[in-house]
């Protein structure tokens, strides 16, 4: 049934109707699905956000994967492998969601390795000790979960569904990170120091994962109007600080921030100043590990080309064989 040819409505009317429908759905806090009409900006903005999110999962595999071979117990080794594997899975869920907006995955990959696409700048920091694996799970995954839970209700259906699956699977990631830190904090003095040092290094970068302060975040407004984003950067950041303040007590470690306090007036947790200049520098590619992460991704993709080609060629040959046999 192709109605396009006999549809009496002109394209213009159709777009107007589509836009009306889109606005209605957003106003009702309903979901937009891939086949619905949507404003070009909505599509573009979502494609950017979801693909960046996917790239972050994939690049985010590297810093932790570096420790798979050195994990200090076999149980931790298995847990870390499963976690890094989950990140590959999450990248795949997100690429699928982004693909529904019309950009094929290989295009997104090309953009990433060509340096045209961004990913979370947190992954450009080096993972120096085993305690960093704990701090990443606790702080980085913790911040990510804080960000992602509201995204389960994002107005774009495939994105929301991917986030639901991801959040469900990620609950173990933060817990395993916390457990690693707790074990270290209760271990020898050297282990405890290792844990404190990792928290010191990852605390500020994890707060910056929520993005620039609200007044410097021009894209946020539109994103909130479209029901993609539900809470502002500062709102989520403050919520996260509040959780960390409590949890660090259990760890018996200190947050490297003497300015943390609950502001009765705003009802929000306040934190010390963050070095947004550093954030911009890392985002612009001048972080300690940007070049290394990109090189590894490019290498894996390029080294894998002959395998992908071989499998595609084999599939073609099989189709031909079946056709000839018939």
């Amino acid at each position: 049934m192709t109605t396009t040819a006999i549809d009496p409505r002109s394209r213009e009317d159709h777009d107007a109707a589509g836009e009306r429908r889109f606005d209605e759905l957003i106003a009702q806090d309903s979901r937009i699905e891939p086949r619905d009409w949507m404003p070009a900006d909505y599509r573009k903005s979502l494609t950017r956000q979801i693909s960046q999110h996917a790239h972050s999962e994939i690049i985010g595999m590297q810093p932790e994967a570096n420790w798979i071979t050195r994990a200090p117990s076999l149980k931790r080794k298995a847990v870390l492998m499963a976690k890094v594997q989950d990140e590959a899975g999450h990248g795949l869920y997100l690429y699928s969601a982004a693909e529904t907006l019309g950009t094929p995955r290989d295009q997104m990959t090309e953009d990433l390795i060509a340096g045209k696409a961004r990913y979370s700048s947190i992954f450009n920091y080096p993972v120096l000790t085993w305690a960093d694996i704990g701090a990443i799970g606790w702080l980085v995954d913790g911040a990510a979960i804080c960000n992602q839970v509201p995204l389960c209700r994002a107005s774009y259906g495939p994105y929301g569904r991917a986030m639901v699956r991801i959040c469900k699977e990620e609950s173990f990631h933060q817990r395993q990170g916390f457990e690693i830190l707790l074990e270290l904090a209760n271990g020898t003095e050297a282990q405890k120091q290792m844990a404190q040092d990792a928290v010191n290094r990852w605390y500020a970068p994890s707060l910056m994962m929520f993005g620039p302060p609200d007044e410097d975040s021009p894209n946020s407004q539109k994103s909130m109007e479209w029901n993609i984003k539900r809470f502002s950067n500062d709102e989520l950041r403050s919520r996260f600080v509040g959780m960390m303040v409590e949890q660090i007590k259990v760890l018996g470690l200190d947050l490297p921030d003497k300015d943390v306090r609950f502001d009765e007036e705003t009802g929000r947790w306040q934190h010390g100043p963050l070095d947004w200049n550093e954030f911009k520098e890392v985002l612009a590619g001048r972080g300690p590990c940007n070049a290394q992460r990109m090189e590894r991704r490019r290498e894996a993709h390029e080294d894998g080309a002959w395998v992908r080609e071989a499998a595609a060629a084999y599939a073609e040959k099989q189709v031909l064989k079946t056709a000839q046999a018939a």
């Binding site: 549809d7 086949r35 869920y93």
Partner: protein, 115 residues
């Protein structure tokens, strides 16, 4: 009718730029998982694979890592036919207002047992 994936796009594709390697790009497959015996296969997501045999294996690795399934379907995304998104108002209008198809329409019989 419109071909393409259930989660896929139906036309308004963003222009794709840059070089493509058509031979190396694996096609998209939609994955359906039966979570336990007696239940239907439910759409879980999609993935890329060079052919059907690899698709079902990749689906096993990707979508049943946590015991989520006892059976899988994979379908080439291009093989899925969907109702026309532009005509969905007309297409789904008819059942609207036909409340008498639902049991709750019949209030007088409330309280009568086994009905």
């Amino acid at each position: 009718m419109t071909g393409g994936s259930t989660t896929g796009d139906d036309g308004a594709k963003a222009p794709s730029s840059g070089p493509r390697e058509p031979r190396a790009a694996w096609p998209l497959w939609e994955v359906f998982v039966r979570s336990s015996r007696g239940l239907s296969h439910v759409h879980a997501g999609s993935l890329h694979a060079p052919d059907a045999e690899m698709a079902v294996r990749n689906a096993r690795d990707l979508y049943t890592r946590r015991n989520e399934g006892v059976s899988l379907w994979v379908v080439p995304a291009t093989a899925i036919i969907t109702s026309d998104p532009d005509a969905k108002d007309q297409f789904f209008e008819s059942p609207q207002g036909k409340d008498y198809r639902h049991a709750t329409y019949y209030t007088k019989s409330e309280g009568v047992k086994h009905l």
